[in-house]
Symmetry: C2
Subunit: 296 residues, 2 copies
């Protein structure tokens, strides 16, 4: 079967099924970061890799600074999703021989600018030539306190669902200019009991079902309540992807306190209750929910 | 300036110059792995990323199992170079939509077979489509005891230079079938005072000058003494690349003891003294020394 027929989620499921685990692996493939034990310490190590591909995640004539910034930010956004702190990064750059040194320097300046902002050190990498599309792959390692790590699978029935910021419109350059919500997620996990969290990279339409599935639940959302970027219809807010906002589930009794403290702490970033997690029932037909699938 | 004129070593030098460091970075870019502190522990963390690219590191019709095996082994070979133990790996797979699911499953079986053999767990990864060449990027994290880590830069004048195994002939499928010398390097660093070590990925002709330069030394080798694979001329042993054998420097007084214990411990793998490190003099003209440059 071709990957375009199989789709990304099913491809990953089939690959993950082959893999072995070990006792020191706390969370393996399928969450935003992998979580592993760090002998005797009171924090876990978080591991994550991601990439941007020319023609898929950026156009050939895009500013290399913006491409570098995006490549680093995408990875750091996954640390936000686990309420972790990224520490070190490795960069793999795959590029044609006729590319200029100036281009690669500007790309690195973009990578570095985001790394600096979040106290991440680029400690190594690899370069290879290619005959075709440029690829920038970034891996990072970080830490999270054992009592603060948040995964996708802890959601409970009736939990309120929240998203930070606004959704949709990624193609209008927003996909090159976004922030990893690290400060926000660190604050959330230290002040509230966050049951489940992830970052929205493929769009709410793809990512919310993943969070619900990981928690063995279903969800109900009020589509008209979705926070939308200017000029975005509901469908765009659900399916454009590359929002890099946080989606999380919280006990309903904590909702009012959260909303109040959030406004005080992050007055410039909206927080919107979009619905709730519910028990699994017969599968519903959600035509508008699909999000971005790399292979579809 | 185009990368094909600049060359790989100068490209990396120019990129690394931009990067910032931090106190917990023990060895940053430029060695086989990055080495970082792990708060309060008596071992360092080792970080490494690497990739294989279709049309560069493997042909389109190559067995996906062999490609997966190569992608994982290349990374583990860098842990051998630091006498470290790899523990966890992340896999980024960039592939066309018309690739089959069976191909990717076989690729993963290749990755997994090497990971299993060296007790490495694949804990996560990323998939993306591309319009062009397939890329498999593997990042790994591991550990090394603080008193056992070996870098490239500790060579002393008069140190004997050794290589494991035989060199040259990588294109005759050998580049798809090699072992990371982890067991050997762990043994070396626990029994002898290894001053400097690396794995030979771009060929002795590219890699030995890197080790000498990192140690601020020059080298003398007896080209006729180089251990060569069957059918390989001296030039092939120096410049073919992808040998993935260990190159290391040892105090000359330890040479006899090393050679004797090695033969007992690893009777099936040759160990050859190929020359020595010497003080820097005026640069010599070594036409036969170039190795593999990704961009040249």
């Amino acid at each position: 079967m071709k990957l375009r027929e199989l789709g990304e989620d099913r491809l990953i499921a089939t690959l993950v099924r082959q893999l072995k685990s070990r006792r020191d692996v706390v969370i393996g493939p399928g969450d935003d970061c992998a979580v592993v034990e760090n002998a005797g310490e009171d924090y876990f190590l978080l591991l994550k890799t991601d990439c941007v591909v020319e023609g898929v995640h950026f156009l050939p004539n895009e500013s290399p600074f913006a491409v570098g910034r995006k490549a680093m930010t995408r990875v750091l956004s996954d640390f936000a999703a686990m309420s972790g702190l990224p520490r070190f990064a490795l960069v793999t750059l795959i590029v044609r021989r006729d590319q200029t040194a100036a281009w690669t320097r500007r790309l690195y300046r973009g990578l570095q600018s985001v790394a600096d902002r979040f106290d991440v050190v680029i400690v190594g990498g690899e370069t290879s030539r290619t005959l075709a599309a440029t690829v920038v792959s970034v891996s990072a390692i970080g830490v999270v306190e054992k009592n603060r790590a948040v995964s996708r699978d802890g959601g409970k029935a009736n939990d309120f669902l929240y998203v930070t910021g606004k959704l949709g419109g990624s193609l209008r350059k927003k996909h090159l200019d976004f922030k990893p919500r690290i400060e926000e997620s660190r604050w959330l996990a230290s002040h509230f009991q966050i049951h489940a969290m992830m970052d929205l990279s493929d769009g709410l339409g793809a990512d919310l079902p993943r969070l619900a599935r990981a928690s063995e639940l279903d969800f109900e959302i009020d589509e008209s309540a979705l926070p939308r970027n200017r000029g975005c219809a509901i469908d765009a807010a659900i399916n454009d992807g590359e929002d890099y906002e946080l989606l999380f589930a919280l006990p309903p009794n904590d909702g009012a306190a959260l909303e109040k403290s959030w406004r005080k702490t992050f007055p410039r970033l909206s927080l919107t209750r979009i619905g709730r997690l519910v028990r699994l029932t017969k599968s519903k037909n959600r035509q508008s929910f699909h999000g971005y699938d790399h292979f579809a």
